[in-house]
Assembly symmetry: C2
Homo-oligomer: 272 residues x 2
């Protein structure tokens, strides 16, 4: 566990980083966040994450806590103070202390450091199993703290023996609760949903790498396309690229395109 | 502001009722609550609210903090200690301190006391204006802390000059963000949506009273029925019964049935 966090205007000991219950996150689940990892001690894709954090805050009508340059410096200071290479940094901005328990107050701003569990070798090797579920995240372009459905679905996911959920709605695939989703078609096109999703930073980096070697399509992806696809994978900050071995009853036996992209991503970005 | 709250296992001074940022409400917007008012110093419809709070907790897979009888006693003790007649009591149960920032921990349980602003006389007299918006609350039967859409819509509501939002989806009306919705038809039937809503305690009491004088229908209510309705009103703990004067462009000129129900509700329940 980290020693320090940054809360509102100063560094405080992590165990003392408390919020009053009037905060609109506790009262009404209202807030945004972002999360990025350290490659060694260097924040990976920091600029993209700071930009997205600011866009999320603006999207929820929350005033930015600090200019981007200062936010960048706070992150670097925290990384240096905690000295925990290979962990992750979370930026959080809540709806703040609300007088009436409903309207936005002065937001509470937190920068915290967290260890995270990367996918085990068995998942990287064999791939994971996804369970499809009909649902559309609200305000999907904003990285809000709303994970009500994702957490509520956990017992059902476990009973079904799945590793994660794949959301679809009106016949189209969107994303997993904490990851973006890709298919590889029978003719080796790399396809990913373009709408009603969070614009993942890892998703963007993977698309940029994939374009060098494959035909890439960002477009609406029908749920039925799973049946004819050759491969599937998901992307996220903590998972980077993770192969999908099964979606409901559909099994993906081989994944050479996914392996190629995993190798490219690793050699390009994980050499800290 | 109240002097005391009950946090987890003891009464603490309200200003010291802090939660650590690892709570799943701050991390992932995960939690439930309930809210009831005091008629004088007597909790109104306490049994209904305790039951619903427990149902909400179970619905979100959160362990109940304490048996119902003890919860009842905690509420009564808090009311006595704070001595703030005519205010409201909120029961909150969060997802708790999560080790990994995603899975449910040991929930944090809070009983807090809040003043609230009843509708001003002008709204009770003239009625409010609703703006319709296409949206369906997720897990609508559970009183979760998810008010992301409701709070996000506030600037839009204000620009449109409306007092509140009326959600509809696929052509059917559900509810307002914090109230249930009723129509009175041309032949004086009292109609309210039956599905995809939170089962309001005030809604239930109003239905019971209305049945004595009017034909009452709990059923799916089409958005188009607004155009032929004679009256509309909303119900909630803080608003009790509040007339609706306008929904988008539709104006309700008179409201004798609503007035009748307001009088019945007041004489039955507000004589503390």
């Amino acid at each position: 566990m980290a020693k320090w966090v940054f809360l509102n205007d100063s560094f405080v000991a992590e165990e003392k980083a408390m919020l009053h219950f009037r905060d609109l996150s506790f009262q009404r689940g209202y807030g945004v966040f972002d999360f990025f990892r350290l490659a060694g001690s260097k924040p990976l894709f920091l600029d993209d994450h700071l930009d997205r954090f600011n866009r999320s805050a603006e999207g929820l009508h929350l005033p930015l806590p600090t200019p981007k340059k200062e936010l960048n410096d706070i992150v670097l200071d925290l990384v240096q103070k905690n000295d925990l290479p290979g962990t992750g940094i979370r930026l959080s901005l809540s709806g703040g202390y609300s007088e009436d328990g409903f309207n936005i107050g002065q937001p509470n701003f937190l920068v915290s450091q967290h260890s995270f569990t990367p996918p085990p070798a068995s998942q990287l090797d064999k791939g994971i199993r996804l369970l499809t579920y009909s649902y559309q995240r609200q305000l999907p372009h904003i990285k809000s703290i709303d994970y009500l459905m994702a957490i509520w679905l956990q017992p059902q996911r476990a009973v079904q023996g799945a590793d994660d959920i794949l959301y679809h709605h009106n016949g189209f695939i969107s994303e997993c609760p904490r990851s973006n989703f890709f298919l590889v078609t029978a003719d080796d096109r790399v396809v990913t949903p373009s709408e009603n999703i969070l614009s993942g930073v890892t998703r963007k980096k993977v698309l940029d790498l994939a374009k060098e070697y494959f035909q890439v399509e960002e477009r609406p992806v029908g749920l039925a396309e799973i049946q004819t696809a050759k491969e599937a994978f998901i992307t996220s900050t903590t998972k980077q690229i993770l192969p999908v071995a099964q979606i409901d009853d559909k099994i993906f036996a081989r994944n050479p395109v996914t392996r190629k992209l995993m190798g490219l991503f690793h050699s390009t970005y994980n050499q800290a």
